[in-house]
């Protein structure tokens, strides 16, 4: 990023050094026009991510004003799923190129991973009213030129850079995407056609460029078209949460191959094979079974090449509404069986899991979410909390506790969930015992339980004082 910035500066200096007689072609004129149009709506979203060990890292991304009252949209790729939203701090918005370099406080509204957008709203009353960009849905063709944006860093007042590239290929299934043959700028920034239409966002997409048997992932910059996020832009989330998309609770999906379709005499029909049903999920309640072939959803057949079927199906679910009841046709024992599934919101994610951290012990735990139990092949309602952070200088680390351990008991007291853990742990710590013994479950497949003994050094902790775990000096570990 920085290197790019320097290169760009050099390029600008070089350009400025040319005599004014240099030929300005039509493209140059277009780029300037487009930049003039878009620039007033471009802003920098700045925030800090506080890691589990308390260290803060700054992040700054170019985004754009997309609604009244300074609603700002940027890419959701930078709001990670394994970090609690409470660890994202101090959201601010900076106007690039402003001479005063002032930043304005903002509130994080939330994100939608499917639409790939996240939102903040400027809350600072002294902030100027910025003009929102008008996005529109438009179909691009191969070869169409498009304009993207980047920005310089703080020393250069975040000045906006402009660049153009062309649509390389048009992807149409399960939805339209436009890979480009060059640099499109910072993910989450607007993409504008030469006639000034704001048609999407720049983003990075991973395509399978190999065969099904030997996938080869390739990262490409693409135009993420307006229709992917327009609805969300009009109805931005609130309260800093991930937007819940509809969920059916089927997993281990595989495409119905040509051979499988032929074997079952399905003719031209295709679909997906259900590999696993999450207990208690909508599909479980609807009576979908493992090994069922899902052929249609909402009266629409699932179509596409073998490599497209699973995403086509998933997309059909995501694009619906939570609470909607959809018709599903499954093929089972030689017959087509019609079923109705009522879609529920996605279960809690790791980022949403409630956390508890004890600095003295150098220990961070969080509640178990569905993904944890799926990965470990445990029952959905497994009791306990999961360790997600161990400070290498803390008492928990010395006891041999590690990331991913599930704590089942503290001092022989059963732990049902995170509230339980916090209460019991605090009660036990209050007693200042010479040891706190945990009963933990470890391992993904071959799981084993064991006792781990944490030995607090209360005297050292008190004299050492402060936040440094274990009373140890807070020097970097070798």
């Amino acid at each position: 990023m920085k290197r790019l910035g320097i290169a760009a500066v050099l390029a600008l200096v070089a350009a400025a050094g040319w005599p004014t007689a240099a030929v300005a072609d039509a493209t140059a004129e277009t780029l300037r026009t487009v930049l003039d149009k878009v620039q007033p709506s471009l802003v920098i979203v700045s925030f800090y991510i506080e890691a589990d060990d308390g260290r803060k890292a700054e992040a700054r991304f170019l985004g754009s004003v997309v609604g009244e009252n300074n609603l700002v949209m940027f890419t959701s790729l930078v709001i990670r799923d394994n970090v609690a939203i409470s660890q994202y701090k101090d959201f601010r918005v900076i106007v690039p190129g402003a001479v005063d370099g002032k930043s304005y406080t903002a509130e994080y509204l939330g994100k939608d991973d499917v639409a790939q957008v996240a939102f903040v709203r400027v809350t600072d009353p002294s902030a100027p009213k910025l003009p929102p960009l008008e996005f529109e849905a438009a179909e691009l063709q191969i070869g169409d030129p498009v304009v993207g944006f980047g920005n310089l860093g703080e020393p250069d007042a975040y000045k906006v850079m402009v660049q153009d590239t062309r649509v390389q290929v048009v992807i149409d299934k399960p939805f339209r995407l436009y890979p480009v043959d060059g640099d499109l700028g910072v993910p989450g920034t607007p993409v504008v056609t030469f006639d000034g239409k704001v048609v999407g966002l720049a983003t990075i997409y991973v395509f399978n460029r190999g065969t099904n048997a030997q996938p080869q992932a390739g990262r490409t910059q693409i135009v993420w078209p307006t229709e992917r996020f327009l609805e969300r832009m009009k109805n931005p989330p609130e309260g800093g949460q991930q937007v819940k998309r509809p969920w059916m609770g089927v997993a281990g999906l595989e495409a119905v191959s040509e051979d499988l379709a032929e074997y079952h005499g399905l003719g031209e029909r295709r679909g997906v094979v259900v590999g696993r049903i999450i207990a208690g999920s909508p599909s479980d309640k609807a009576g979908i079974k493992v090994e069922d072939l899902i052929l249609s959803i909402g009266g629409k057949d699932i179509k596409g090449t073998e490599g497209q079927l699973v995403t086509a199906f998933q997309n059909e679910i995501r694009e619906r509404k939570v609470g909607e009841t959809v018709d599903v046709e499954v093929f089972r024992d030689g017959k087509v069986v019609p079923l109705k599934v009522t879609l529920e919101p996605q279960p809690k994610s790791e980022a949403e899991a409630v956390r508890y951290r004890n600095k003295q012990f150098g220990l961070g735990v969080r509640e178990l979410v569905l993904d944890d139990t799926l990965v470990r092949e445990l029952p959905n309602d497994e009791k306990g909390v999961i360790v997600h952070f161990i400070d290498s200088s803390g008492w928990a680390d010395a006891a041999g506790l590690s990331d991913g351990d599930i704590i089942k008991k503290v001092q022989d007291r059963e732990i049902a969930g995170i509230e339980d853990f916090e209460r019991i742990f605090k009660e036990e710590v209050e007693k200042k015992p010479k040891e706190i013994v945990l009963f933990v479950l470890r391992g993904l497949k071959d799981k084993q339980t064991q006792l781990l003994r944490m030995e607090p050094r209360w005297d050292a902790a008190e004299s050492g004082g402060g936040t440094s775990p274990g009373g140890a000096p807070s020097e970097p570990q070798p």
């Binding site: 281990g252 094979v273 696993r276 090994e291 497949k445 084993q448 006792l451």
Partner: protein, 491 residues
């Protein structure tokens, strides 16, 4: 290239050693040194003629592809019938074996039995061949590894990097070393759970494996098994080997019992568990579907096993405890005295046979994968529902199974509407399908908790019997030898 390098280093070291040890001053020091040298040479004379270089060839599957793998190691003759003790990782699963003796004669040998848990194997020289060639064999006596202490002088004899008849010299660095990291003999085969190691600084390099560690009385006290570089070598204590050898000579295999628990050392947990005296061992974990399931609980303290008091204060003692339990006859009802929540209790359970994760692989050639039966141990390690089905150990690229993305670790449980419990059953379905030239095969597998349903598309050659596999497949195998070795090193 590599060997010559090792040679150069070895020669330089030897020169330095002899130069450094040439007595420069007092005569009594010289005398003492000569004395030490004589003792070492006496020990050498007792064992050196009994040490052999073992050459082994075996069939392995790499990604479903049959390969012949060659390797070598060391071994030691221990009786007049020509039995040789070596490592499992040298001779286990070998189909062709030969030994080069100290007199440079090469003699064919056969595998008598092998035990991956202790990484030991017994092979037998072809004694007819020995007689035909007209020489006598010499064998080495076993010592008592329980009396070995740190500082004992030892020599290691074997074929480091294939350099047969090499001797190295050092002391016992630790008599009961535990190596905590998981030991894998390839294919997930576990080892090292039932014994601690004799650690020595006598040089042990690849190729020393299976050779003897010898005390100055000329007795074998260990089988050199692992070299860590940096003067860290590890030998299986001979007392552990004695029991293994006896069972192999008796029945050709080693039977062990399990009760399905993992132990934890008591140390530092006495007050939490309210154990006044430090006796017993903590039962930390219970394996699913094992004799201990629903009978024992985590945090129970095992005080007595089948009439024997249990010591488990230190991790080192858990090896002895595990070995003791493993030594119980399979299927025997045993009484365990335990303490649970402060209360003493008697528990009765019946021991089960301890299996390894591996069993014979079967090649489903036309379908493009290799599979094996599921042992109890494999089911535990891989969290499989039960021991039913065929565990896929390898999928050959480009073949039907690969095209539908079957992968290592999948469990075939249904094929062509037939429930599959074992490789024998799948073999039957396979043979029938091949005979009838079925073009499409419906196959269902478990992948962890997920079911995968696929149809294999099978092509049959125009001329059915003409293209018999072995003849065509044999010749390229030798060409691939170099690759195979590389592959096995990566494992």
């Amino acid at each position: 290239m590599r060997t010559s390098h090792v040679w150069a280093v070895a020669c330089a070291a030897l020169a330095a050693w002899s130069a450094g040890c040439r007595p420069a001053s007092q005569g009594d020091e010289r005398l003492a040194y000569v004395e030490v040298e004589n003792v070492i040479k006496r020990a050498r004379d007792m064992v050196y003629p009994a040490v052999v270089r073992v050459e082994a060839r075996k069939t392995e599957y790499f990604r479903g592809q049959k390969e012949r793998v060659g390797g070598f190691g060391s071994g030691v003759l221990f009786d007049s019938q020509g039995h040789v003790l070596t490592n499992y990782h040298v001779a286990g699963r070998a189909e062709e074996l030969s030994c080069t003796l100290f007199n440079k004669e090469r003699v064919k040998a056969t595998l008598v039995g092998a035990d991956p848990w202790t990484d030991l194997a017994v092979i037998k020289l072809n004694m007819d061949e020995v007689r035909e060639k007209g020489f006598q064999i010499t064998w080495a006596p076993f010592g008592d590894s329980d009396t070995v202490v740190e500082g004992d002088t030892v020599v290691a004899i074997g074929s480091p990097f294939g350099l047969s008849r090499s001797i190295s010299f050092g002391i016992i660095s630790c008599h009961d070393r535990i190596l905590s990291e998981a030991m894998d003999l390839g294919g997930g085969l576990e080892t090292g759970l039932f014994s601690t190691w004799l650690q020595t600084d006598a040089a042990i390099n690849p190729g020393n494996s299976g050779g003897p560690l010898v005390n100055l009385r000329g007795e074998v006290i260990g089988i050199n098994t692992r070299g860590g570089g940096n003067d860290l070598g590890f030998a299986v204590p001979i007392n552990v080997a004695k029991n293994v050898v006896a069972q192999i000579l008796d029945t050709g295999k080693v039977l062990r019992s399990t009760i399905g628990v993992q132990f934890q050392a008591l140390q530092d947990l006495e007050s939490f568990l309210d154990v006044s005296k430090t006796e017993g061992a903590i039962i930390a974990s219970i394996e699913p579907d094992s004799p201990a399931e629903n009978v024992l609980q985590p945090q129970d303290i095992l005080l007595e096993y089948d009439g024997h008091r249990v010591a488990g204060r230190y991790p080192e003692e858990l090896f002895e405890l595990r070995r003791h339990i493993a030594g119980t006859p399979v299927g025997r009802e045993v009484t365990l005295k335990i303490r649970r929540g402060g209360e003493p209790m008697d528990i009765r359970l019946t021991t089960a046979e301890l299996t390894t994760v591996r069993s014979d692989e079967v090649n489903f050639e036309k379908w493009g994968f290799v599979g094996q039966n599921i042992t109890k141990r494999l089911a535990t390690r891989e969290n499989l529902k039960n021991t039913r089905g065929v565990y896929v150990t390898g999928v050959r690229p480009g073949e039907p199974a690969h095209k539908v993305r079957l992968s290592q670790g999948d469990v075939v449980f249904q094929c062509e509407q037939a429930e599959i419990d074992s490789v024998e059953q799948l073999q039957k379905v396979y043979d029938e399908a091949v005979k009838e030239k079925k073009p499409r095969i419906l196959i269902k597998v478990w992948r962890g908790p997920t079911i995968k349903v696929e149809v294999l598309r099978i092509e049959y050659d125009a001329e059915p019997e003409a293209a018999k596999e072995p003849a065509g497949a044999e010749s390229p195998k030798d060409d691939k030898d170099g690759d195979t070795k590389q592959e096995s090193q990566r494992q």
